[in-house]
Every structure is written in structure tokens, then in C-alpha cells.
Amino acid sequence: MDTELAEISTFVQAIPPFDQLPSLLLGKVIKAFSICYVNKDQTLPPQYCVNRPLFMIRKGALTYRDNTGELLGKYGEGDLCTVFCQENLASDIKVITEEDTLLYSIDYHELERLVADYPAVINFFSHSAEERLNDKMSQVNEDAIIASSLLNTGINQFYHTPVATIAHNRSIQDAAIKMTEHKFSCLVIVDDGDKNASKATKAVGIVTDKDLRQRCIAKGLDFANPVSEIMTSNMLTINHDSSAYDALMLMTAKRIHHLPVMRNNQLHAMVTITDLMNNESQNAVNLTHIIRKAKSVDELAETSLLLPKLQIRMAKLGTTADHVGKSISAITMAFTIRLIELAEKQLGQAPVPYAWLAAGSQARQEQFAHSDQDNALIISDKMTPEDDKWFEQLATFVSDGLAKCGFIYCPGNIMATNNQWRQPQKKWHEYFRKWVETPSPKALLNSSVFFDLTTVYGDASLLEEVRARLLKKTKGNTLFLAHLSKNALALRPPLGFFRDFVLIKNGENKNVLDLKHNGIAPIVDLARIYALSEGVAATNTIERLRQVAGTPSLTKASAANLIDAYEFLGLLRMAHQAKKLQAHEQPDNYLAPKNISKLEREHLKDAFKVIKTLQDSRQSAY
């Protein structure tokens, strides 16, 4: 009967949070709407409007300005205007029509009453940006836990039952025939024991294809011999209620491919490494294992091709960006370590102790596939000028190797191959002293990557000593922190979206959202400043925020908000890059607004707001 309002319904139900309402209730909500028309350059709300209107833009555009006239945001078709739902907001924000505008409006109290059974809908309006972001991220984290593969999957998801068995007194040939006929790669050998006893069959061993080859054919053993002669007796088993991860770890550690599953001490099922690997073939653990065993740079380069696949897969599983960043960083670390080992094999022992350092995103454990390499060498002060030749060769070998593995050379030349960043410890002390004691924004811009450093290989104490001295100097050092902040605050999040554009502070429109520079980097920068000003040694952004939470630099609530914003932005970046990688395109950080869903836009705006609030308070601190 209400099909006549179908057009309006179609429009409204695409707009969050109305998309959550069942159609019957949506129909009732729409009946409570009014339609009004406001000319260009008028101030909302229009005359004769309800008391607390919630507006929905059907056609036209609205501009928000603060009391000083500064642009706060611009809104187009399908956007909501909630400014007048709450009394306190309305006095601070001026809403002006930028075009002739057709608006749907509803009395907010009436809406509250109608959707009382759908608290999520009301929360959407009544919660602050911070609260909404938190709602979203707690849901994402739950999903990630559910999705996180093997750890939470029982082996019952993978095993085969019943198990193919053969009696211990049958011949080797019988076993081979049975395996061929049934296409089994292994058989469990059972002892029927005393037929008269009520005791069930007992598994006494296992025979695999490999056993037939190695223990029978290769040794010229008679096929007619009992199969028990070539079986592995004391076989490893696993309990049926173990996780798939446990099974994988056991098989990897013991280098076996078949694992019988026991239930109440009885043979119950069989799980093979292939079953698990198919599921987890691009698993990070598995990949580092392969890397560790690689014998040449070419072998490593081949393995590196799996990295984008791993990232796609993790993104699809709903893994958090934090987890992906840590996994990819761990793998990059494994590549680097293996390359250094290979180099040392070729060049011989290092003349003096040293540490290979990773800087930037790898050091923060926030690396994604196809990042560039940022590295440096810190060498013991015992080094002689002649020793540098060895380190230069090391740096060249590793850097070239990393490039072959898809980690492009650093465009800013922040690499150990650069003599400037391949220095004894005393020189590094000197660098940091200069940056901190006589800071200039430009010098800091180029060196900020060195405030995120980690030891990949070698003597970790070299870096720790440098860092300890640095943190003592930076803690509470207002001049230094002011300069660092100035750089950090240069990157501002956008105001929001207007139609299919990204709206920038001065009212300018951009076609794409640069997730990295307009969202992720500002948070990374803020976290670095907090960490340095509080003397926190951590490099990972989330870790830094957690550790500074509750210090004078950052309240616990703000830290939680920044973490939510950071994880949400990371999630979007990951999904975007997974799409790119899958299409065999270079992954980037540029999102076109038309590809961002309405709901994601809302969450993005909330994230921008969180960043802006903390940037503003940082700015006012100096």
C-alpha cells in the first residue's frame, strides 16, 4: 500500500543509519518526514520548521561555518545535517545553503520515539565522533578474532576420518596396493591383537609413501615381508580437541607430514600438512621458515613474491592492520637477516661489532608489501677507517638483495649504502645531539625517520645506548618538541567529503583521499612526539600511544580515540591495497571518494575529527 512513497524510501534507505531499519519501520519514519525547499545563501533552519530538525539533503548543498566564519564542512545529496538535533551544537555552527536546496526533515524527538527499539540508529546521532569510532573498531576487532585462522580453528575442521589402516601382519605389497587403490599417501598400522579379547584395535605405527621408497625399495627388501618392518613405530599423535595451529607447529617442528588424531586414546582421524598448508600456505610463520632456509638471493627473491599474496589473504581474513603490519615487518626482518647471513658467508666475519638498523615503517612494525627500504648501520667505536670497506660491501649486498626482493631503494637515500648513515656509534650520538639541541624544522623533517629505529641484526646494545641518551635529551625538551610538532602539524586531515570530492580546509576539493598523508601519517607523527616528550622507547605507533596514555602528553581517552582512528584508517588502507594487489596493480594510498561507502565516509569523518582535535591541542601547547 505504501509503494507510492517507494522513491523516497529508496533514497532514504541507502543512507546510514536508516539502512539498518526494517522496511516497515522505515515506512513509518518516512511518513514523519517533511519536505522543504531553501534558497541559496539562507541560514538553516528555515521558517516554520519543527523544533529539533534532523535534515537530509535531497538536492543541493550545505556549508558549515564556525562563529569566526571558518569553513567546517560541506554537505551534498544524501548527507545528513544533525546540527539542530542537539541544542548545544546549534549555537556554535552556522549552517548555510550553498545552492538552492531540497531538504527532508524530521523532528528528532519523533525519530527517537519511532526507532526506540533500534539503539544503534539513535547512537549514530547521539554518540560523539569518538564514541562512534570506538563502536566501529570494537566490532572490527571482534570480527578479526573470529576470523583469525588457525589459532581458533580446531583440527576437526581439517582432519579426515575414518583413517585408512592395515593390519600389522599384512605384506608391504598389500599396503602399497591399498594405498594406490585408495590414493592414500599413508596408512596406519593396526594390531587386531587377540581376536577373542574385547579390546579394540590398537594403532602401532604408520607407513608413508616415503617409507616404501626409503625403507623398502631402496634397500631391496622383499615386498612379501610384513608391513610392520618398515613402519614408524612410536608415532606422534595429537588429541582431537587441539587447534589447527598446534598441529601445524608439531608437524613443522618434527618435520612430519601426517599426524594421526586420537580421541579417548583411540585412533580417530588423520590430518596432513597439505590440508593445513592449503589453508595456511601463505602464512607468515611458514614464510619466515622458508626465508630462513633460503640459500641464495635468487631464492629469497622468489619467496618475496608470496608477500603480496600474504597481505591480500590477511586483509580478506579480516585481520587488523596492526597485525598485518607486524607480520609483514617480521618477514622483511627475516629477509634482511638472511641477506646479512649470506653476506657474512661471502665477506667473512665482521671486523668489529655492529648493528643493522631498520628505520621508518619497518622499525615501527607498520610495513606493508612493496614499501621502500629505510636502513642504517651503527658500528662499534672500535672500528678503524679501513673497516668501513667491509661494511660498505655488506650494505651493498643487503640493499641490492632487498631491492631484488621487491623492497625498492629508498628515494631519500636513507640506506646503509649511504656513507652518512653507516657510522660508528659516537657519530650517531653526535647526530641526535645536533638534531635535539639545535633543531630546525627542515633538519628534523629529513631525520624524523631516525626517531623510529630498531635493531634488525647484530649488537642491539649499540642502538639502545644511543636511544637512551636521546630520550634523556628529548623528554620535556620544549624547543625540540615544538620544531618537531611544527612539521607534524603540517599534515592536516581533510574536513570531510562533499559529493564525490575530498574537502580540504580552505574549501578546495580534491579527487582522491591520500590515506597515508591525510590520516595515517599525522597519527604516526603525533605518537612519535608524545613518545619523545615522555621518554618512551617504543617505536610502534599503537604501542607508543598505549604507553603514553595517561601522561601529561595524552589522556587515556584521547589515546584510545587515536588508536581507534589509526586502526580504522589502517583497515581501509589494507582493504584498498588488497584490491590493488589482486588486480596486479601497484598498491597505493589513494582512495577515490566514489569508492568509499557512505558508512565508511562517516567513520572517516569521525577519524579526521579525532586527529584534528589532538592536532589542535598539540598546536595550542606551543
Binding site: I30, S34, Q47, S105
Partner: protein
């Protein structure tokens, strides 16, 4: 703005005619309708109570053709109130012509389940009491409604009306340049005012579309503009 000829004829006429008809009308819906005074012609247009109405019919001749469906919605103090929207198909007790069905998309099946004409007209008169009727191209709605009243109550009253087509035409005529009559269609005018596209030929959709158009057409008028500026 308006030619003074029609101004006199109608403005003075509405209330006098209403009172005269009230005396003649039989007990029932029409009498109830006529017993509520029309809005004063000097009242503010922006505060007027208006009912946007649209009919779907089997043709253009009010005597021979039939009323198929009625849709209306209230426009009060510049706000279209969706809680007042009404849409009803009428059982005309005759088979529909195929070419017509294509336009209004009301099938024989739906039509048979419709309500009798007298019920729908009664609903309309109830909603219309004390209000100005808003239509796009007044002839159809006026003639079909008067014809229905004549059939049902033996009396064809006059209705104070606003016509978005006339408002647009007047504006185009003033410009003194030739224009294509198709520019006066509801869809074309809406497009001109940058109003969203809509699905035409459903009586309620058309009524809402007409109300939106009126808001767009009159949004630039001073607050003090009187209702009579827009009455036919």
C-alpha cells in the same frame, strides 16, 4: 502579476459562491466541505494551508472518461507533510484501455480492488476543507472533481486553486521569447529548477512533485506575498 480580470472574478467569487452553494448542497460530504471557510485571499501565501492533488484518469474528457486514482499531500507553512499523504485507486467498474494502462500503470486487477468513487471523493473533500488546492494543469483536476461532485451530489462547486503550470507560463510569457509548450510539463519544470528526477504518473508522486515545484517556484517571493498572488 495576475490579470485583474480573473482577479476580480475569482477572488471575490470564491467565498460568495461557497456560501451560496452551502445553502443548496445536500447533507453529506460536500456540505461538510463547503461549511469550512476558504483561506482569506489576503492571508500570507507562505502560511497558507495547501493540498497538492493529482488525478490519474482514463482520458481528458471529464464527462466520458473516468477518474482512476487520486493522490494528495498537505503543504502547510512551506512544509510538505508526508504523514498526510494519500493515494487511492478507484474502481471505475469498466475495463481499462491498454494504451492507457501503459501510462498510469494501473492494471484491471488493481482497479477492481479499488474503492468506489464516492468514498475517494469524500476522503478528498475532507482533506481539502479550508485549504487551497494545488495542481499542475488545473483543467483536469477541476473538471473531473466538479463532474464527480455533480454526479454524486448534484452540485459542481468551484475550488480555489493554484496551478504550477500557470505560474511557470506567466513567467515565460513575461520574458517575451518563444518557448516550446513541452517546457511546461511537470518533469521539465522540475528539471529546470534542479529538482530531483521522479517517477511520473503515480497520483501521489505527481502531487508531491507538484508541491516541491511550487516551493521552488515561489522560494524567492517576499515573505509578505499574499495568497491571492497565486490563486487562479
Amino acid at each position: 502579476m495576475l490579470s485583474h480580470h480573473s482577479f476580480f472574478k475569482w477572488l471575490i467569487g470564491y467565498e460568495i459562491q461557497r456560501k451560496r452553494n452551502l445553502l443548496r448542497a445536500p447533507e453529506g460530504p460536500l456540505k461538510d466541505f463547503l461549511s469550512v471557510p476558504f483561506p482569506s485571499v489576503n492571508s500570507l501565501f507562505k502560511e497558507a494551508d495547501i493540498l497538492a492533488v493529482d488525478f490519474e484518469t482514463t482520458g481528458l474528457d471529464a464527462v466520458q472518461d473516468k477518474l482512476l486514482s487520486v493522490g494528495f499531500v498537505e503543504l502547510s507553512q512551506q512544509h510538505i507533510k508526508l504523514n498526510t499523504c494519500y493515494h487511492q485507486i478507484i474502481n471505475t467498474k469498466q475495463k481499462l484501455k491498454a494504451d492507457n494502462v501503459i501510462i498510469h500503470q494501473i492494471t484491471d486487477q488493481q482497479q477492481k480492488q479499488g474503492l468506489p468513487l464516492e468514498v475517494v471523493v469524500e476522503d478528498l473533500l475532507k482533506a481539502l476543507a479550508g485549504k487551497v488546492m494545488l495542481v499542475h494543469y488545473a483543467r483536469i483536476e477541476r473538471e473531473f472533481l466538479q463532474q464527480a461532485c455533480l454526479e454524486l451530489y448534484g452540485l459542481a462547486p468551484s475550488f480555489p486553486m493554484i496551478d504550477t503550470l500557470v505560474i511557470a507560463k506567466r513567467r515565460l510569457d513575461k520574458k517575451d521569447v518563444a518557448y516550446d509548450p513541452s517546457e511546461l510539463k511537470l518533469g521539465a519544470l522540475r528539471e529546470n529548477h534542479q529538482l530531483p528526477q521522479y517517477f511520473a504518473h503515480n497520483a501521489l508522486n505527481d502531487a508531491i512533485a507538484t508541491a516541491e515545484l511550487l516551493l521552488a517556484q515561489t522560494s524567492n517571493y517576499p515573505v509578505k506575498t499574499a495568497l491571492k498572488e497565486f490563486l487562479l
